[in-house]
């Protein structure tokens, strides 16, 4: 211990010199900053998006997968056949796929994964994705047959989710702390509260990753996030939490700023069963009281796309319905008077922690006040929000970003927290689920968007932007976030 200072100081200098020398050659490791740390690393048994942010496409793979544009492409299944009645999917698996522990990935693992996800005691947070599956049969080691109880046009999409990645029965007991997947990176180390390290899988079945090593660092404080990128402690920061600082990065040649789209429809959720919101006129008045651009500018510093319904604007089936709810305080007051509230009314506005809700909430409160609707603002933590708003339905208004992809189906659940009960919409969703023809599906999705928009179920605000700040030399990052992921498969450093 006595000699540590001199010795370690020398060692430190040597390491510095060495790393400076290495930086000359193309770098093969990367440090990715993100706000939230995953609670554990099993994407098939928790809702936490941070798990997918680390593991999706890097450590774990599913039968199908998302690309950065949200398209569905083959993953571990190289191809599939769908029977004419839409009830039987036969997946042909890639040959020679091995898990990181050296065991083969075959049809038995696929059956195990799907059966585990849909089992009685399953802890899968998206169990509904697998609800249509009736049975899973192993035909031979590379062929697996999935039989559905009813046709489901979303099946290939559902199987691309992080919650549907293929896991092995051998490693399931320790998966939470030692995830064993089939991906181009292997899990190597986790310092809880600080970082997770993954290294390249040399035996990867597909195109190997270009990076040798990646470190995910968890920095929750927005100011610290800014400082960590500025000081070049991290090379990439995904889901950058301080949009007000982005112009500074854009102006700095050391960095690049990627602004993409996410699946997060940010909405002013409305309790449709609570008077006076059970009156469609009141909800319409609410919609016309809102000035979307003011919210996007004020709460998100201009990052975000206005939406007029619960659907992602980048989706091919999206219909722009913002014209149905233009900012018109005059009309809003008139509608309120017609509904019997010439002097407005008072309601609650519960705001969860993200800045879109807290900052946006203040702006919306002011906009609503301008037409006579007074709001009592309460800030709640997520756990409280789940209990009071989501489960208890004890709220008038709340602001939430719904980040699940293609989730318009929630409007068909009358006991969902908006409490929107429209049998026509429910029938439409049932029909949609049973349809596999893409053209017909798009038309139905369009009709569904219009229905909820014309019923003014919720106040539709904007699509959350995917904000990434990275070193200017990093190539191959996802710009959009069709699912929560930090796909490093194709990422490399430019010389």
């Amino acid at each position: 211990m006595k000699h540590f200072t001199i010795k370690t100081a020398f060692a430190g200098v040597a390491v510095l010199a060495l790393s400076a020398g290495l930086a000359q050659a193309a770098q093969t490791d990367i440090t990715v900053g993100m706000q939230l740390e995953p609670p554990h690393l099993d994407p098939t048994s928790a809702a936490a998006g941070a798990i997918d942010s680390v593991t999706y496409a890097n450590i774990f793979e599913g039968l199908t997968r998302f690309t950065s544009t949200g398209a569905i492409v083959p993953g571990l299944a190289e191809s599939w056949d769908i029977s004419d009645d839409g009830l039987t999917y036969t997946f042909h698996l890639h040959d020679g796929v091995k898990f990181h522990d050296g065991t083969d990935m075959n049809a038995d693992d696929v059956k195990f994964t799907l059966d585990r996800a849909r089992a009685e005691d399953s802890a899968n947070a998206q169990k509904a994705l697998f609800a249509a599956i009736a049975e899973v049969n192993v035909i031979d080691p590379l062929t697996v047959e999935v039989k559905l109880s009813e046709p489901n046009g979303n099946m290939l999409f559902n199987l691309a989710w992080g919650d549907a990645v293929i896991v092995a029965p051998e490693s399931i007991d320790t998966i939470k702390t030692n995830p064993v997947g089939t991906g181009p990176f292997k899990f190597s180390n986790w310092v809880q509260g600080d970082k997770i390290e993954i290294t390249r899988n040399p035996d990867y079945w597909g195109t190997p990753a270009k990076l040798e090593k990646a470190t995910f660092k968890f920095i929750s404080d927005p100011t610290a996030a800014f400082a960590s990128v500025m000081a070049e402690d991290v090379d990439v920061f995904t889901g950058f939490p301080a949009p007000e600082n982005l112009p500074q990065f854009e102006a700095d040649p050391r960095f690049q700023v990627l602004v993409g789209s996410t699946e997060g429809e940010t909405i002013l959720s409305t309790n449709n069963k609570m008077p006076p919101f059970d009156n469609v006129k009141v909800r319409e008045a609410l919609a016309h009281a809102i000035n979307r651009q003011e919210i996007i500018d004020g709460a998100m510093f201009g990052y975000g796309t206005p939406i007029g319904t619960h659907f992602a604007p980048h989706h091919p089936a999206y219909v722009d319905l913002t014209a149905l709810s233009t900012h018109d305080p005059e009309l809003s007051r008139k509608l309120l008077a017609e509904a019997g509230f010439p002097d407005g009314f008072t309601t609650t506005l519960k705001l969860p922690p993200p800045s879109y809700a807290r900052r946006g909430g203040e702006i919306i409160a002011a906009q609503l006040a301008a037409v006579g609707i007074k709001t009592e603002i309460t800030n709640v933590e997520w756990a409280q929000w789940l209990e009071q708003v989501f489960r208890g339905k004890d709220y008038g208004l709340t602001i939430v970003s719904h980040t699940e992809p293609l989730d318009i189906g929630i409007y068909a659940q009358p006991d969902y927290y908006f409490q929107y009960d429209n049998p026509a919409f429910q029938a439409l969703m049932e029909e949609l689920n049973a349809t596999t023809d893409p053209t017909k599906r798009a038309a139905m999705l369009g009709a569904a968007q219009a229905t909820i928009s014309k019923d003014y179920v919720n106040g539709y605000l904007f699509q959350l932007a995917a904000l990434t700040v990275a070193n200017a030399k990093v190539v191959g990052l996802w710009e959009n976030a069709p699912t929560q992921a930090t796909d490093l498969t194709a990422v490399y450093w430019e010389d």
Binding site: F4, T5, A11, T177, V191, A383, L386, E387
Partner: protein, 315 residues
């Protein structure tokens, strides 16, 4: 001395019992079910029920309290709801950052405060005194997180001498570890040193006005000798009290500084666990911190007795 120690020990035990009840009740009444939090908004009710069962949340609160306390007594802190690892291991890992950081900051603050306070007191009214009072006034007024951001801006972003935060691990060597803790320690030490220097100064001034100091001078001791043998020793009681309080504060109160420098310490663990409704971790860490505070106070009480013999006989 024995009676004094025993009395202190009894009050220590009582504090701990009361604290455990308060902590448990306070944390359990906070709304929010850990299982539903973990599974999110798309989870089906049967999935949540299965997880509640797995986490042992289906028994009554009294039973949970008993389970928790009997576990703690046996050294078993339980298993984290979210991380599914032993809470004791998590705390152990985090202590390796929080404890050195607190000690580092405390050492720094003492090393700054003692000379500054003594200088200001002995040269009362001089330019030195004015300077110390002025700087410490500023030090007390500046919030430490703001100061932290400022030094990050200067030393990490502009000068690039330090990382903006994070901790590379002690396995990288002591120098590397201390370097990573330097900026956070300075941010923590600045206000503490300011307070301590001011307390040192006023305590010393009070003592220097006492009759026994004049007597000591009259019997021929030099200023320096009086200071060392008589004045400092008597001024130590308030200073020790403040140091004791500061150590507890540094250990438990570094939450904001740990967030600014993204250090995986105890403060950040508590912060994360509260938002994730990892109740068992919150309860155990808070209890541990209470334990640390109570033990530090106990040690301070013993130190009083060491510097002030009257306390020993009074019992």
């Amino acid at each position: 001395m024995l009676r004094y120690t025993l009395k202190r020990l009894l009050s220590l035990a009582l504090s701990l019992i009361v604290a455990s009840v308060v902590i448990f009740v306070a944390i359990e009444v906070v709304p929010g079910d850990p299982a539903s939090y973990m599974l999110g908004i798309n989870a089906q009710p049967d999935t949540v029920a299965a997880l509640r069962e797995e986490l042992g949340l289906n028994v009554g609160p009294f039973q949970r309290y008993v389970n928790w306390i009997t576990g703690l007594v046996r050294g078993d802190f339980g298993t984290s709801y979210t991380y599914r690892t032993e809470v004791a291991d998590m705390i152990g890992e985090r202590l390796w950052i929080s404890l050195p950081l607190a000690l580092f900051a405390l050492t720094m603050s003492t090393l700054i405060a003692f000379p500054a306070g003594i200088l200001a007191a002995t040269k009362r009214g001089s330019a030195w005194d004015v300077a110390v009072m002025g700087v410490t006034q500023l030090g007390v007024a500046i919030p430490n997180f703001w100061f932290a951001m400022l030094i990050v801006l200067v030393f990490a972003i502009n000068l690039r001498w330090f990382s903006a935060g994070g901790f590379p691990g002690w396995d990288q060597g002591l120098a590397v570890g201390l370097k990573a803790l330097l900026l956070p320690a300075i941010s923590l030490a600045l206000p503490q040193a300011s307070i301590l220097a001011r307390v040192m100064r006023s305590a010393l001034l009070d003592t220097l006005d006492e009759d026994f100091i004049r007597t000591a001078r009259a019997k021929g001791l030099t200023r320096r000798q009086v200071l060392r043998r008589h004045a400092l020793r008597n001024a130590m009681i308030p200073v020790l009290t403040i140091i004791g309080l500061q150590f507890s504060f540094l250990l438990a109160g570094a939450i904001i500084i740990e967030n600014v420098f993204f250090l995986p310490g105890l403060g950040r663990l508590v912060f994360q666990s509260i938002s994730q409704r990892d109740l068992i971790v919150v309860e155990s860490v808070v209890m541990l911190l209470v334990f640390a505070v109570v033990v530090v106070n106990f040690a301070v009480d013993l130190a009083y007795a060491a510097v002030d013999p009257r306390l020993r006989s009074r019992g």
